[in-house]
Symmetry: C2
Subunit: 236 residues, 2 copies
Amino acid sequence: MVKYNGQTKVLVAIDCIIFGFDGNELKILLIQRSFSPEKFKWSLMGGFIQPNEDLDQAANHILKTLTGLEGVYLEQLYAFSNPNRDPFERIISVAYFALIDILKYETQISNNYHAQWFSLNQIPDLIFDHNQMVKLAKKQLRYKAALHPILFELLPGKFTIPQLQNLYEGIFETQIDKRNFSRKILSTKLLIKQPEKDKLNSKKGAFYYVLDMPKYIENFQAFLYFIPKQQASLQD
Amino acid sequence: MVKYNGQTKVLVAIDCIIFGFDGNELKILLIQRSFSPEKFKWSLMGGFIQPNEDLDQAANHILKTLTGLEGVYLEQLYAFSNPNRDPFERIISVAYFALIDILKYETQISNNYHAQWFSLNQIPDLIFDHNQMVKLAKKQLRYKAALHPILFELLPGKFTIPQLQNLYEGIFETQIDKRNFSRKILSTKLLIKQPEKDKLNSKKGAFYYVLDMPKYIENFQAFLYFIPKQQASLQD
DNA sequence: ACAAAAGTGTTAAGTCTACACCCATGA
DNA sequence: TCATGGGTGTAGACTTAACACTTTTGT
């Protein structure tokens, strides 16, 4: 019984676009390669798939290694497969994107690796096709965020509505009316108001909210239209 | 300069979920494998990536081989990577889904291969994880079709509004009010009314429409909400 | 003349958008 | 007391959903 003779095997890599939000700006985490080829150039965090893991496991594994994080929001994005994307060897890379709370994990990151957060509009030239991956990830993040309650993954467990609005405004590069925004967010019934306030960003203080987890999970794939239709720019 | 030593290479396959619409029902195209392993079992049309092609090219190539079709709507779906998905050897498979006009190509299909159209609810047990791939493709098709004008790819160049409605109703397994449906479709301005009628499906006859191609291309990634929100079941 | 599918208009309900003022507090 | 950001209500425009009758024509 001859099986798959004569077919070429290739290396399969995973690259992670890791998004974080620092309260003001959306950023992504890049590392400076410590090995050849392209040593010292900035790149996405990546690695190769191992014989006994699937891609999700490999991506989680890579994320754990770089950030120390587990249980992070992680989603397969796209397989990049241009035969010359890596000039040294044929590698197909499956890109994943991750959303993490930048503040929570600030300490664990970037010590063992030359890792650094970059604002989305200050991303350096990356190796291979990584700039293209970032572009697609950004587009996909907007796409999903316009429809699904995904951006909570970028915030701490307790957050305020003005913080949340900031995040949406940052990602969609637009201004949203705060009355309409809070009405829409609260109408989802996904948030539970806490008795305490965050007093860091204002004198009056803003009430904290936490996610209603069961409802959040239930509604995750429901359609929720967060961004005013005219402003939901999904181009590039 | 040592590069990627010691990493395991794997076989990378492509599997295509080919959707077609016969005017009544949504179907997918399956083939009976003529080679081992799993000879004679039904499966998706697939193949391996070649050294000089990327995945899109490989998928087009496979589609061409099976159906004789080129220029078909084709979209990368997901990379399936369970280490044991193929019990004989480790293979990562990137699934693609395709939309074709079943009638137009009926003749070209299925002669050289044991290919056959199956209604979506009569799909046999497929090899490996292909049933899972079909399930995901179906979900993705609904998802995209609820938002984007994608289903025209399943129809002939000239089609009637009742045909189109039939298609939407089939895919979403729901009934749509025809007055509201035609108003919504026509409000997109994507269709151009033809002088002739299709008289096959009714005595009165229904006017043909064709796509306004420039507008279609322009609006492809715009948000158009075709399905009444309550009915847009995107679960499974 | 009748059966079968095509085509069309209106009204009520709901949603979305734009907009402005008061509140609480720390400095 | 004042400057800063937080919080809330309403009215008009628009969109959606529900609904029924007339038209055409082949048999």
